[in-house]
Amino acid sequence: MANTKTKFSAIGGNSPGYLLLVTVLGLLSLGGFWSAYMMFLHGHYMTGMTNAIPWGFPIVMAVYLIGLSAGSLVLSALSSVFGRTEFKPLARISALLAALLLIGALMAIILDWGRPDRILVPFFSMNPRSMFSLNGMLYSTYIGICFVYLWAMFNDREKLVKLLGYTAVFWAVLVHSGTGAIFGFVGARELYHSPLLPPSFIAAALSSGTALMIMVLYATFKLTGRKLDDELIRRLGFYLTAFIAVVAYFIFIENVTRSYWPGNYAVQKFLLLFGNKYSLIFWIGMIGCGLLFPFIILANPATGKSVKWILFASALVVTGVLAERYIIVIPGQVMPMDMFPGYHITGPFQDGQLTGYCISPMEILFGLGITSFVFFLYALGLKFFAMMPDKAVIATGEKE
């Protein structure tokens, strides 16, 4: 390491801009909690969920936030595990954000329960065969690891930091595989049941997480008036390009495999060709915003070196992966399960119908609120702990 030891400090947090930001985020969080309380009080009919679509936007948000935390953790581990010391100044804020995003995800899951007041039940009554139960254990231990990791970094326990870095990366693989498995292990639904979901979930987690970190780092350094080396953004942009390519590969393989076999023609036509909102979200959101446009921007030398373009590509990826999470969760429920092959089924329980799902305002408030709460805590974390480096620059000797 060529440069001297990075100095970390807390931000002042007294400027009108900071106070305004915290107030707005706090109010949005309150809106989210209010919507969760309304759902609990009156029932889930206030959401777009139905008996045919029991999982709606809160679950989309939960898996999205879980995915976003991956990028932060990997960024944090780049220095401690992969020896990329130039990222060391960013290790603290990314470990903090990794933990907070996972806390947000857990909150989204729990507040989406019909009975969130039974929060203590999972601690006393577990089912090791349930991916939800296993993930509950994985998520909470992961949050714990992140905080111990942060503590070790604050106290300069170099060896412990390295050990925890390895543990956190290994644990992150489990967390994201487990999240993909929530859907991939369900044999009842054609669009869920896939052994590719756990690895492709990791890949999309890495791409969205890296993209989010690029944006958050840029904004944080800009707003606190500290210097962030453009070269760091470019290097993260390079990782992002690679992650996008891996996600694209997984999505390609999964859909080609499903489309090949005649038994799946109906379900693939519904997902890819019908022109309903699901295929629009698939093509424009997931493929366009999540993969194609950002890849072109990042891979093109004319735009891929520009910080502004990298930021734009990151914003596209963050949006596109939200669309991808939506495509994982929702269409698998909209497509009716074929209980009687060879028959068309009709009945009072919306049998045999492509049932509609529309995100309700309540759920938008919920998703916005949980996300705001994550960044509300992040802003507070920066104020009360020495998270921010004075600057994040690559020493001249290290430049390539």
Binding site: W55, I109, G114, R118, S125, Y343
Partner: protein
Amino acid sequence: MSELDRRSLLKMGAAAIVGTVIGNGITLYAAPANAGEAAAAAGGNALEVPPKGKARWGMVIDNNKCTAQCTACTAACRAENNVPVFGDERYDGHWIRKVTLTPERGGPEKHLPLLCNHCDQPPCQHVCPVAATFTRHDGIVMIDKHRCIGCRYCMIACPYKARTFVFKETTEWTNKDVPKRAHGVVEKCTFCAHLIDQGKLPACVEACGKSGEAAMLFGDLNNPESAIVKYIRAVATKGVREDLGLEPKVFYTGI
């Protein structure tokens, strides 16, 4: 409010608290006070209940006898189990429902009831994070509504759409022997376990018999002398999506 009123109210409150603390789903069901007598009084629908752990309840539905208009089973189920109707097909509870099958190649329509298949390999139970879904000693898959957190993973995992979420507070409480449906949890068919424990047939089966169609046959799959086992040996039956390997215990003839 008079003193007496307040006292009785307090008592009710205390009873409710005790009920919640000891309650774990089954115990709150009405106890079989007069098991044999009630069944005998009802006449002809008594169920031979073997000792605990010996039975494996199953059902056969003869699709050739089930007709389009009849809703005896669904109505009886709603009345017996207080299954809520909100007047909105998105939220209505269904423990048993009648569906119509139209062959894609053409041909006569079929009408049949669908209910929980009480699988021997229940995916709903496998995915339940808090083990609120469990299999009883006699093979009935049940939900402990006091433990369910309402995460709805079981509804995602069940290929039969046998489970419904209670989307709103319910007001219907026609049968006081069975608890009112609990807002915020997932519920489903219990094979009328509370009636079986009293030596009675499930409400749907009894109603089907009374309607004259007698398309449903309920009994112990472990008892080689039971009518259901004899029927299964004599007539070809089939479970819904048996290819999924869940080993359902509701069989159909004529599908």
